[in-house]
């Protein structure tokens, strides 16, 4: 069984360096090469977390894998799967007088589907940054609690927190709501639950992924049991941390399972992930939120994959509070701009550089689709770390 590290030694405490250790990386690299040789055919794996893509880029981990092993990015970027409806709602609300819209920084530049008037450069849509430039009071926050503080400091304003993210992020929002918030704070409910989306992937035509690196942060909350259905459908699973040693250990675990044919939900990231997750966090989460159908941008409406406020918390729902002031027609709209292939990128059906607008019409300073905006976005990571370029061969004097 592959584990990210040996059991921690007493008294040594947490040593992050361990998980970047070049010697451990080299050992995992040769173990992966051995396993790939034993499997003796091309294997496609997928991770489901934007941070994994980011770290794979930052440490150029694909360079360390044998040619027969490829790792694709799945629907793991909360910014990228956040449906237009919520972005458009945030934009509309930010332009309402007396409203402060508080959002994570990553979300600010993501275009929704409201056309940006006066732009001639293709199918360009409005983002929260554009709303701010038009007078909207849009503020970047680091956590839901910052939004609460803004609400306390501005009792004469309505403060709307754009609650986007996966299991991990929504836990903090639940904790905040459960402990009570000022009356002038509400949230846009755009939180997504990963497992149903992963269960939908194997049904896609042409799906040939053999293993999932499970999102380390999210499974810290939910645990691994919710993924038990996947091995029976032919998909190996392994929890995945984010340091180079963690990522390679997960890849090795998946290859081991594929090599032996003994598919399971392994836990190489056991230093943080418990098989049943974090019981207290799950309990609070389910007190405040319930699972409901939600649209994943460019993918589909997936049953029981969105967190919506339970009845006792309806007062904090921005969609309910501002129902009369939102333009329902403007909330809907074509999901991705013309020519944008974010949907296929998000499903791991293509790599970013197979999209014609990638790096041309769509760049981080002028993003066309959502995957180019957030640091979690696959296109953004590819652009930033040059993953679309030929392997960087160095020639010295």
């Amino acid at each position: 069984m592959v584990e990210a590290t040996a059991a921690p030694q007493a008294g040594t405490g947490f040593r992050p360096d361990t998980y970047k250790d070049p010697e451990l990386v080299a050992r995992l690299q040769s173990r992966i090469a051995e396993l790939a040789a034993s499997v003796a055919r091309p294997v496609k794996l997928m991770h489901i977390c934007g941070t994994h893509e980011h770290e794979m880029g930052r440490y150029a981990l694909r360079d360390l894998l044998p040619k027969s092993v490829s790792v694709l990015a799945g629907p793991g970027c909360p910014v990228c799967v956040c449906d237009n409806e919520y972005i458009n709602m945030a934009i509309q609300l930010s332009l309402e007088p007396g409203v402060i819209l508080a959002s994570f920084g990553d979300m600010l530049a993501v275009p929704g589907s409201i056309p940006l008037a006066g732009e001639r450069r293709g199918d360009v849509r409005m983002s929260l940054l554009d709303a701010r430039a038009r007078g909207g009071d849009v503020r970047a926050v680091y956590s839901a609690f910052d939004a609460k503080r803004i609400a306390e400091q501005n009792p004469d304003k309505q403060v709307v927190f754009f609650s986007v993210g996966f299991e991990t992020t929504v836990v903090a929002v639940a904790a905040m709501l459960k402990r009570g918030v000022p009356d002038n704070l509400s949230i846009i409910e755009a939180n997504y639950y990963t497992p149903p989306a992963t269960q939908l992937l194997p049904d896609l035509e042409g799906f040939d992924i053999e293993g999932f690196i499970l999102p380390g942060h999210a499974v810290t909350i939910t645990g691994l049991r919710v993924y038990e259905g996947l091995p029976t459908r032919g998909i190996a699973c392994a929890s995945g941390g984010f340091e180079p040693v963690d990522v390679l250990a997960s890849i090795a675990s998946l290859l081991e399972q594929i090599d032996t044919g003994d598919l399971t939900v392994a836990n190489p990231y056991q230093r943080l992930v418990k098989y049943d997750g974090n019981e207290r966090a799950k309990r609070e989460l389910h007190e405040v939120f319930e699972l409901a159908p939600i649209r994943w941008r460019g993918i589909a409406e997936i049953p029981a994959s969105g967190y919506k406020l339970r009845e006792p918390y309806h007062h904090a729902s921005a969609a309910r509070r501002f129902a009369g002031r939102l333009d329902p027609l403007a909330l809907k709209g074509a999901e991705h701009p013309k020519g944008c292939r974010c949907a296929e990128v998000t499903l791991g059906q293509i790599q970013p550089d197979e999209c014609r607008v990638f790096g041309q019409l769509c760049t981080p300073d002028s993003p066309y689709g959502p995957c180019m905006v957030s640091h979690e976005g696959t296109c953004r990571a590819w652009y930033t770390y040059g993953m679309h370029k030929e392997q960087l061969r160095v020639e010295t004097v």
Binding site: V25, T51, D63, V141, H375, E376, G386, L392, T396, V397
Partner: protein, 353 residues
């Protein structure tokens, strides 16, 4: 200082404070209050002969050689941050711009844009900090200007500094002097300023013991150039961090710049908080760092000279100039894998998770 037309300058001593607790519009109107502010604060603090003359232009001695001339405007939130303040930043920033060109910085002007209502004692602290930094760098603040913006039309204090330095006719540096095989050096840990300032921004308030590196680097640079006369290129590493400078170096050049990830000095706290905030220390701002490209045979001497200087104790050789790939800045990881070091795109914002 904008000189009121007929007021005779009188000798003043550094009386602690102005009669006013806060800045008034009249402090920028060219009248009595302006003169008071100039004499009692700026002239008294900056204290040098050309400034004391209160003429329309400072008349300065010319030591010969070519003139280096640079200007920079400064705004920072908060104005006082761990390890420095906007005053030190404004002086050091312009000193460094001159020094990296191989010039000896000598004179500086300071123009203040103050917001009505700005705290006078805070302004005094800023001005004293400018004086201390100017003394440290051996430059004189010989000219200036004050304007006051109506309340709500400024952000406390903005400072523009313009500096003049002199350089010998034979100083030859630039990206066109850089050759494959040259070594890339920095004078210490990267990202300190960016993370220190961000840690005190509204909404984060991280109580971390990290100080900005803001410092005038002309002394350090002089020490390096004494032992490494063939420095090919220097640039101060400021906004945009290492990534911005590395890309400016290779832009349209027939060589590449390779950084060895593990060789780059990064303060332990910067490392930790960058990870937590999802920020890349290679993109974070610095205010007391310089990147040098040095001929390989002079690299060790340059490194030694920096390590012997208070602002270079953690200097390191962080990379080299390569023949290929051309026009690309790249990072080689501890594992031998390689990635592009892309030009920074936008302001660094904390991420979702």
């Amino acid at each position: 200082m904008s000189r009121p037309s007929d007021a005779a300058p009188s000798a003043t001593t550094a009386r602690a404070a102005s009669r006013y607790d806060t800045v008034r519009l009249s402090h920028g109107s060219g009248g009595k209050l302006t003169l008071e502010l100039i004499e009692e604060l700026f002239v008294a603090t900056f204290s040098n002969e050309p400034l004391k003359a209160l003429t329309d232009a400072a008349i300065l001695a010319n030591p010969g050689g070519r003139i280096a001339f640079a200007t920079d405007s400064h705004t920072v939130k908060p104005a006082f941050f761990p390890g420095g303040d906007i005053g030190r930043l404004a002086v050091a920033g312009t000193v460094n711009d001159l020094a990296v060109m191989g010039a000896t910085p000598m004179y500086m002007s300071a123009a203040f844009l103050l917001e009505e209502g700005y705290d006078m004692s805070e302004l005094e602290r800023v001005v004293r900090s400018m004086k201390a930094t100017a003394d440290e760098a051996g430059v004189a603040i010989v000219a200036g200007d004050t304007k006051v913006l109506e309340r709500g039309h400024g952000d406390g204090v903005f400072i523009n500094t313009t500096g003049v330095g002199f350089l010998a006719d034979d100083v030859l540096m630039g990206v066109d002097q850089v050759r494959p095989g040259d070594k890339v050096l920095v004078n210490g840990t990267l990202g300190d300023h960016g993370i220190a300032v961000m840690s005190r921004r509204e909404g984060l308030d991280l109580a971390i013991e990290l100080e900005s590196d803001v410092a005038p680097l002309n002394g350090l640079i002089e020490a390096v150039r004494r032992v490494a006369p063939n420095v090919r290129f220097m640039r101060d590493v400021t906004r945009g961090g290492l990534a911005a400078v590395a890309n400016e170096v290779v832009h349209r050049q027939a060589y590449g710049l390779r950084v060895f990830d593990v060789a780059v000095p990064v303060h332990e706290l910067v490392e930790q908080y960058s990870e937590m905030l999802g920020i890349d220390p290679f993109l974070a701002a610095n205010e007391g760092k310089v990147l040098l490209i040095v001929a390989p045979e002079e690299a060790e001497a340059a490194l030694g000279a920096m390590k012997a200087h208070p602002f270079g104790r953690e200097a390191a050789i962080i990379g080299d100039i390569v023949k290929k790939p051309e026009g690309v800045a790249l990072v080689e990881t501890a594992y031998g894998s390689r990635r592009v070091l892309e030009m920074p795109i936008e302001e660094q914002l904390p991420r979702i998770c």
